[in-house]
Subunit: 191 residues, 2 copies
């Protein structure tokens, strides 16, 4: 009997991303992922309904953290400051494991139109989650929508820098800077 | 020999959207689309490589029009005014044919995660096209990116209203109003 593997999920994610970036998402099978991770196919299916879902887990976590951070921001926080609180909370999910895999994730997405579609949908989903959390604070609909879009742009900017080889900056700090820069850009745009 | 069908493409698009909304995107075959349009499968394949591409043609047209409108805006136009020019040009593609099909398109997207992913990717593609056209005018990278996002949000808002049953407003006017509203919302957000 195999011993309980506390890190089986992470091993499966790492194996999948390495294989996706090496040989392409379409060409990679669940059997190969399990094999690379040193696990069985049935172990894979204990964690993920199918190959697509290897990439979905992170999104749910991020959306949940955005919502928590936004909901728990001080009552008098402006919409953008609530978004900043959501980004800060989400930063707690951006661990060394995710950073190490980021280049593989980016390479896999760049090579697969299916993964590009999923990444685009992920952004829409994150924006919707943030906007819902802002509306729940009483932020008017249109303001909530735009603040959430800025939040996703800031997240995306921060991720791009954080994922660069050699970068050692803190994700939370990168996200703060990115949101500030967007705020300045927006002021310039409206001037 | 069948006669030349000048509107075969439109008939195929209309047939496809009706079938997608009636029975679902996945459940609809090319043979059924051709049949509903009163055409043959081989005619379908003269216009579209496959079922997915029925929905892609509109996006390419829109992106091309955004780019034309932005490129041809007066040299001294602000980035947001160049985006407004792009939206106005794109409005020329929003014809009664598209408006009539809009509820079917929306129903089909609402019922299919694959079409939701494609719609999300379409928005990303439109934003990228607008941002490229703005950068070509010398607009700095970050300003171009944000102005393009506002352009896509304005397009989406205008489309949602334009597609409502009974609405008879002009698309160009709706897009102008939507962009103005976003500008006001952004000012409020930054205040």
């Amino acid at each position: 009997m195999p011993r309980w593997e506390p890190d089986a999920r992470q091993r499966l994610v790492a194996a999948a991303l390495h294989l996706f970036s090496e040989r392409g998402y379409d060409e990679t099978t669940v059997a190969e992922i399990a094999d690379r991770a040193g696990l069985t196919k049935s172990t894979f299916f204990r964690y993920f309904p199918d190959k697509r879902d290897v990439l979905a887990a992170g999104q749910e976590t991020l959306s949940r953290l955005f919502v928590e951070g936004i909901s728990q921001a001080p009552a008098d926080a402006t919409p953008l400051n609530a978004v900043a609180a959501g980004l800060e909370r989400a930063a707690s999910a951006m661990r060394p494991f995710n950073r190490e895999l980021a280049p593989h994730l980016q390479a896999a997405i760049a090579a697969s139109s299916e993964l590009q579609e999923r990444a685009a949908l992920k952004q829409v989903g994150m924006a919707a989650a943030m906007a819902d959390a802002l509306r729940a604070r009483g932020v008017p609909d249109s303001v909530a929508g735009l603040a959430a879009e800025l939040g996703v742009l800031a997240f995306r900017d921060a991720y791009a820098t954080w994922a660069q080889a050699g970068n050692e900056e803190d994700f939370a700090e990168l996200a703060r800077v990115a949101l500030e820069r967007l705020r300045a850009t927006a002021s310039q745009l409206l001037a």
